[in-house]
């Protein structure tokens, strides 16, 4: 039986991981799972810890691990803290055991982050019915602005894994790019997650709010973002989107500045900030081409 299916024992931990409930994941004990699923569970727990910022501890814990899964996790942990050799390490792992799912996933992530998106896609496409790989492919396709290919990927996955969390999420990511009716569908997916007590967290609330923002429903989006910030005042996406919403809803500049400074504290390298700084510079260069004659 597919361990991720709705009856499978890994479903809950898997869903919790992808809904961003890392503490739930970490608090599970891998020993409670049947032996064939224990490694997968462990990997998820390690990855949750990395996401919570414990990458260095994880890396040192996994020192000398033999299984390719754990080696991949260790290399990934090192990569996230900026260890330069880690990328090569992972690439080596990819060479040696490219049919291992964990290697595929983490390798795909690292390759994409390294700018080798095509290689990442090639690696990920080797997966044998792994939904996370599908989700990664979809996201990479979207960052490449190939919405058409992302749509195809989702459609294909729906045939064999209709209605699993990741497929639904991936479909909404695509939906947010396609627009029109898909906005509303994306909204329903996120709304369902955000309103369900077990999966309501900053991440899902932000998702709901963003879909509503795209639909032009600002007051609803606002309350969603407020709720998200209540759950996690330092959620970078909640902060970044709050600024966007503030502009659209005509809020005072001060409010946005508060969010912006919070965002700078929470995630100084958030794409919102880097992008904005870049654009500000671009503006200055572009404006400098004109030579206004200022009168007395």
């Amino acid at each position: 039986m597919d361990p991720f299916s709705s009856e499978g024992e890994l479903l809950n931990i898997h869903n919790a991981f992808h809904q961003g409930q890392f503490s739930t994941v970490v608090s599970t004990t891998p020993e409670t799972f049947s032996p064939e699923n224990q490694t997968t569970a462990k990997v998820l727990i390690y990855r949750a810890r990395i996401a919570q910022g414990e990458a260095e501890t994880v890396a040192s814990e996994l020192e000398g691990a033999e299984e390719p899964e754990l080696k991949a996790v260790k290399a990934y942990a090192e990569y996230t803290v900026g260890n330069t050799n880690a990328a090569q390490e992972i690439e080596a792992l990819v060479e040696s055991s490219s049919d291992n799912v964990t290697v595929q996933l983490l390798g795909g992530i690292v390759l994409h982050l390294e700018g080798k998106s095509d290689e990442a896609l090639a690696l990920l496409s080797k997966h044998q019915g792994n939904l996370e790989a599908v989700a990664l492919i979809v996201q990479i396709r979207l960052t490449q602005n190939r919405t058409d290919l992302a749509t195809k990927e989702v459609q294909a996955a729906k045939k064999w894994a209709n209605d699993s969390l990741l497929v639904n999420l991936a479909e909404s990511w695509v939906g947010l790019r396609v627009g029109g009716e898909k906005y509303q569908q994306a909204y329903y997916v996120y709304e369902e997650l955000a309103q369900q007590p077990t999966s309501s967290n900053a991440r899902t609330l932000v998702g709901q709010a963003v879909t509503e923002l795209h639909l032009g429903r600002y007051p609803e989006a606002e309350s969603g973002l407020e709720q998200a910030l209540e759950k996690n005042p330092a959620d970078p996406e909640a902060l970044a989107n709050s600024i966007v919403l503030g502009i659209l809803a005509g809020k005072s500049v001060e409010e946005q500045n508060v969010h912006a400074s919070n965002l700078e504290k929470a995630a100084p390298s958030h794409p919102y900030l880097t992008d904005l700084a870049e654009k500000s510079e671009l503006f200055d260069t572009a404006a400098a081409r004109y030579t206004p004659k200022i009168g007395a």
Partner: protein, 1209 residues
């Protein structure tokens, strides 16, 4: 017969006759035991018993309008009763055997009776006479009824025949003409004589033969020419008649014993029959097939009756009566936002839009869902899939999943419906629904392809499932409600509430109302009880107001309850309705015919209570001021809740007002009311309260009113008011009240007066003692002398020094003693206007703002005309810039569309600078702006650039480990074609109009000119990068641009003038006056123009330029000739008329046409050369060509430009 609903059952001996009251929830039952019972079937109570008949009573009938009923029994008697006086009014004797049925005529004062003496008789109950005896049947006549409209009677007899009788002759005879001629009288006499022999009053019209045994019952169809009869041959026969003949149509076969009675359904094409085989059977009138049948274990049925108005039936059997309905009348419906989806009586799904107030065409026909004659029970709606789930009780419970068409196109059969067995079915998620099967107590979770994904047993036996929030179900067990998590398959919470039938969620999903037959329980989404209330009448439906007030309907009322359980009646109902929504004063509902209706209500009471609970004083104030919220209920509510001071605001009745004023210690009001009423009792109570508060002035007044002199004196004593005490003494003397005089003299310490008084009363010993005690020896002797006694006669005990009367230390009478403080509640303060921000003035201000807005619109129109002219005169220059070409270039750049990012698409799809900014293509955006409006100085636009750029991107965390996914916000929300998507541009025209412009006007009005310049310049910058939808909006934007330009120019000039004034130099006077004069030139809103004119006038007067002052005064008057400004202008004008000269010569020609140069603030007279700014249209002297526009600070004066583009297509 699963859908028959029993509403009432009684236990008694055999019931032979039944009659519904046409209006009240009453039913008369005549019993085999000689008793007639009157039941209230709604409350289930026996109202009365009538026992005068001897032996079984077989027939009863209510009169339609009078408080009467008639009965007939085996004692051969027909009795007419009054149920008001509860006695038999009279008895009609004449039948010679058992009376079987009795019925009133629907309009004439007649009763028809059938009897075992083989006759049918008609009686006039007004003169209590037998007016007709109809013979012809040759066995017992078992039943005889009037036709509901025509002059016909139908009868059934054990002679196996049914007869139809024409009684038009009888009617003619008894409708007495007003003036009877002799001939008429003769004719009538003759006719009557004919009666004796030929019986022309009632003649047999048709004899219907077909039953093989005796016929027990017969009745007419209410509207069609049909007759239904029931006989001992176990058949129910349908007959049709025309003017001339009647014939048998068909037979309904199925009863396996004698059929006792039958009737037509009053509203539907159905026949109902009851028989000794213990069944009630329902037949299809058109097909004559059995629709439903209901069997009773032990009781044979004897009679059936239908309610004339509402959908109720009653059947009498061996052990009593049952009142029942054939089907639920509650229409199946579901509400999603402003849409109501419901199933009509024709079994079509329709949608009703609350906001539009319009009903759609039928979307889908449910004809094939469930069985015919069985209406669907529930409807659950899924907006994500636009699908509905219908449940029907047919076949032991079924559900059907149907996708609704996008556009309603009529009652089509659903194409891709999925179905299955189940008793209730609800959507629990976007793509999941739950189905509950009662027989197995299982709940299945199914996906939209109807495949079961999960299946589990209910934790306890339950009746029904409801949506319980995302991923949860509410399970209604007989004694409790359970909140159940589907994922984890466990009970989250349980609340012991019995018999919950319906669950209604609030609009925000935080609360739910659990409706039982007689209880409403409000719970939170976590199933914690908030409040509960009990109703004696059945609760039918409920809906939530946006503010969290639950409105619910009972059989005959709409009521409300607040979350805290405070409840009340909103209005009574003529007929039962099912509430669907409440918005403002309108309650939307479905009636029992499943038609959407709107009912107007007065929500004041519950809004007020809600405001009270939320301490929303401004709202309360609004309600008090704007609506007549009176009535005892609200007053007692406020009193009960401890707000007598608020109740005081509503009361007009002085007595109540007095009580409330006392309760909240409001003496002023109490005094006022007491004065109005002027009753001793009230003054006493007021004096007590005033005394407690230490307000002795009021106490004094009360005592004066009460004429209680003793108390007054004492009051003056304790407050130390000696003057008044003296006056009291005089009054006492005047009244001849010696006791009072003595008391006063003691209070005053006036010994002489006391002795005088005692002497006067011949109490010499006392007078002597008093004198002696105070050492007044002369007086003592005088007393002895006067009384003729000696000192020896006096036996004076030994006493010490005479007591000195204490003198008041503080003259407390001058001020009140604050004994009990009375604090003003917030509310009272609000009423007194002491709390800021809550006064009604605010609204007035807002209203004014609105006026200004309207004016702006009107003026703007004027501006437009001028503007267009100017544009016509504007030389476009030699550079022929063709922008569309430019746009085409862009389109050609990319080539393959997929693979290019959304921002690239935006830039490609649009020739608007704003869209290029959103795309992040600042270069091209600047190019565009440069060509369109000659923008050169971009620095001021930087915030707007970045704002637009930022507003068009959102971020979601997607895969774990990857950076967030960027999404692009569009203004074309509906669009999916990549060639037409466009970015959102924040702060649209509407925002500028409603927010920014108003802010600017406010700044102008409040004389914050710096701010004013900033705001209007900001508006100009915003409009440079803007996207609007059509040409009319472009024009509007142009109008706003010119308005903003005028305001910036005006404000800048005035600022310059003030700067000069600051310098306070004599040489500046000329310039100051000029600037003041030019300040009046820009086209401003009328009230603002008035400001500029008044300003110019004031300065002209100040510097003695009377000629100009007079000119400005004229313009003030022309602008607005009323108000204080106009008066002032009048005065100045007349004063200036005396010396119409100017002291300072300034460059201002009031008669010449000129514009003001926006850079130098000097006039540009008509005909003089000038250059214009391509964006703002501001005019400049030619030497400023090439400089930055002073107004916009972005664009280049006099530069060639193609004009701003704001529409993309």
């Amino acid at each position: 017969m699963q859908s028959m609903l029993t509403k009432f059952e009684s236990k008694s001996s055999r019931a032979k006759g039944i009659a519904f009251h046409p209006k009240r929830p009453w039913i008369l039952v005549s019993l085999h035991s000689s008793t007639i019972q009157l039941w209230d079937y709604r409350m289930g109570t026996l109202i009365d018993r009538f026992e005068e008949h001897d032996g079984p009573v077989r027939g009863v009938d209510f009169h339609r309008t009078q408080p009467l009923f008639v009965s007939g029994g085996d004692d051969y008697k027909i009795k007419v009763w009054s149920y008001q006086t509860r006695r038999c009014l009279f008895t009609l004797n004449g039948h010679l055997d058992y009376v079987r049925t009795v019925f009133f005529h629907h309009e004439l004062p007649w009763i028809v009776s059938s009897s075992d003496d083989q006759t049918i008789r008609i009686w006039n109950w007004q003169n209590r006479q037998l007016i007709c005896t109809m013979t012809g049947h040759n066995h017992y006549t078992m039943c005889a009824q009037f036709h509901p409209k025509e002059d016909l009677i139908v009868s059934a007899s054990l002679d196996q025949s049914v007869r139809v009788w024409d009684i038009s002759g009888l009617r003619k005879k008894h409708s007495a003409p007003t003036a009877m001629t002799f001939e008429d009288q003769m004719a009538r006499q003759n006719q009557q004589q004919a009666d004796m022999f030929g019986n022309t009053d009632a003649v047999v019209k048709f004899v219907l033969e077909g039953h093989d045994r005796g016929v027990n019952w017969v009745s007419f169809h209410p509207t069609l020419p049909l007759i239904i009869s029931a006989g001992d041959d176990r058949n129910v026969k349908l007959w049709r008649m025309s003017e001339t003949k009647a014939w048998e149509v068909d037979t309904c076969r199925g009863h396996f014993q004698n059929v006792s009675a039958c009737l037509f359904h009053p509203h539907q094409d159905l026949i109902l029959s009851v028989g000794e085989d213990k069944t009630i059977r329902v037949w299809d009138l058109n097909k004559r097939t059995s629709v439903q049948s209901f069997k009773r274990e032990n009781d044979r049925f004897w009679v059936i009756a239908a309610h004339p108005e509402i959908n109720l039936f009653a059947a009498g059997h061996d052990n009593g009566v049952m009142v029942f309905k054939l089907e639920r009348e509650r229409p199946a419906y579901a509400i999603h936002q402003s849409q109501l989806f419901f199933v009509t009586k024709e079994k079509h799904i329709r949608m009703y839009d609350f906001t539009k107030g319009a009903e759609s065409l039928s979307m889908v026909s449910l004809k094939k869902v469930g069985a015919p004659w069985v209406p669907p029970r529930t409807l659950s709606y899924n907006p994500a899939e636009r699908a509905v789930l219908i449940t029907s009780p047919a076949d032991g419970g079924i559900y059907e999943l149907i996708h609704l068409p996008k556009e309603p196109a009529g009652a089509v059969e659903p194409t891709d419906s999925k179905r299955g067995a189940g008793n209730s079915a609800v959507f629990v998620a976007r793509n999941r629904f739950a189905v509950f099967t009662a027989s197995t107590q299982t709940i299945d979770i199914k996906d939209l392809s109807n495949a079961s994904t999960k299946s589990f047993k209910a934790p306890v036996p339950i009746n029904e499932i409801y949506y319980g929030g995302v991923g949860q179900l509410l399970l209604c067990a007989p004694g409790a409600v359970i909140l159940f998590d589907i994922q984890q398959r466990k009970t989250v919470a349980e609340l012991p509430v019995a018999g919950v039938k319906y669950v209604v969620w609030s609009n925000d999903g935080l609360h739910a109302a659990l409706l039982s037959k007689h209880n409403v329980t409000i719970v939170t989404k976590n199933l914690e009880q908030v409040s509960t209330l009990h109703e004696t009448i059945r609760i039918k439906s409920a809906t939530w107001d946006d503010a969290g007030v639950l409105l619910y309907s009972t059989l005959n009322h709409i009521k409300y309850t607040l979350l805290n359980g405070d409840n009340g009646i909103i209005r009574t109902l003529e007929e039962t309705v099912y509430l669907t929504r409440v918005k403002g004063r309108t309650v939307s509902c479905l009636d029992r015919q499943a038609k959407p209706r709107n009912i107007t209500i007065d929500p004041t009471e519950y809004r007020f209570k809600l405001a009270l609970i939320n301490k929303n004083y401004s709202e309360m104030l609004q309600i008090i001021k704007n609506s007549n919220l009176v009535g005892q209920s609200i007053i007692s509510y406020l009193q009960k809740k401890g707000y007598p001071e608020i109740a005081l605001q509503f009361v007009q009745d002085p007595a109540t007002k007095f009580e409330l004023a006392l309760e909240c210690g409001n003496l002023e009001v109490a005094v006022e009311m007491a004065k109005e009423l002027d009753r001793a009792k009230l003054w006493t109570r007021l004096s007590e309260e005033a005394l407690k508060q230490g307000n002795h002035q009021v106490v004094e007044m009360c005592y004066q009113k009460l004429r209680s002199f003793d108390k007054l004196s004492f009051l003056y004593l304790v407050t130390g008011d000696t003057d008044k005490l003296n006056r009291m003494a005089k009054i006492a003397a005047h009244r001849g009240d010696f006791t009072a005089q003595l008391t006063n003299s003691i209070y005053l310490g006036n010994i002489e007066q006391r002795i005088e008084l005692l002497k006067e009363l011949d109490l010499y010993p006392l007078a002597y003692v008093a004198a002696k005690a105070h050492g007044l020896t002369e007086e003592c002797e005088a007393i002895l002398e006067a009384s003729g006694m000696t000192e020896e006669d006096m036996h004076i005990p030994d006493f010490g020094a005479p007591a000195q009367i204490a003198q008041p230390l503080v003259p407390t009478y001058e001020a009140n003693l604050p004994l009990r403080t009375r604090t003003q509640t917030v509310f009272e303060k609000v009423l007194l206007g002491e709390v800021e921000g809550l006064s009604l003035e605010d609204n007035a201000a807002a209203a004014n703002g609105l006026d200004a807005e309207e004016q702006a619109g009107a003026n703007g129109l004027g501006d437009l005309e001028g503007e267009e002219e100017e544009e016509g005169g504007w030389d476009m220059g030699d550079d022929d810039l063709d922008l569309p070409e430019q746009a085409d270039d862009f389109v050609n750049v990319g080539g393959d569309i997929s693979g290019s990012s959304e921002p690239d698409l935006w830039a490609r799809n649009s020739p608007l600078a704003a869209d290029h900014v959103a795309a992040g293509s600042f270069d091209t955006a600047m190019q565009l702006l440069n060509r369109q409006i000659a923008a050169v100085n971009f620095e001021p636009l930087k915030p707007r650039f970045l704002e637009i750029y930022q507003a068009s991107r959102t971020y979601i965390q997607a895969s774990v480990g990857l950076p967030p996914l960027v999404n692009y916000v569009r203004r074309t929300v509906e669009e999916t074609d990549p060639r037409r998507v466009l970015p959102i541009i924040p702060q649209d025209l509407e925002y500028i109009k409603t927010v920014e412009l108003r802010k600017g006007f406010a700044a102008m009005k409040s004389n914050h000119l710096d701010e004013c310049v900033q705001i209007f310049r900001g508006i100009l910058h915003t409009l440079m990068l803007m996207a609007v939808s059509d040409q009319s909006e472009v024009e509007e934007a142009q109008r706003i641009i010119s308005t903003a330009t005028e305001y910036v120019l005006a404000s800048s000039m005035e600022l310059e003038r003030r700067r000069l004034e600051e310098e306070d130099s004599e040489s500046n006077v000329k310039r100051i006056l000029e600037l003041a004069a030019y300040f009046t030139k820009p086209t401003l809103e009328r009230p603002h123009r008035q400001i500029t004119l008044m300003n110019a006038m004031r300065l002209a007067v100040k510097y003695k330029n009377f000629n100009h002052a007079s000119h400005f005064a004229d313009r003030v008057l022309a602008n607005s000739n009323a108000g204080p400004n106009a008066q002032k202008a009048q005065t100045i004008k007349s004063r200036c008329a005396r010396s119409p000269t100017n002291t300072v010569d300034i460059d201002y020609d009031q008669h010449a046409e000129f514009d003001v140069c926006a850079a130098s603030f000097t006039p540009i007279y008509a005909g003089q050369p000038f250059v214009q700014d391509p964006f703002t249209g501001a005019k400049y002297h030619p030497q400023y060509r090439g400089e930055i526009c002073r107004i916009s600070q972005v664009t280049e004066i006099g530069a060639p430009a193609s004009g701003l583009r704001l529409v993309s297509s």
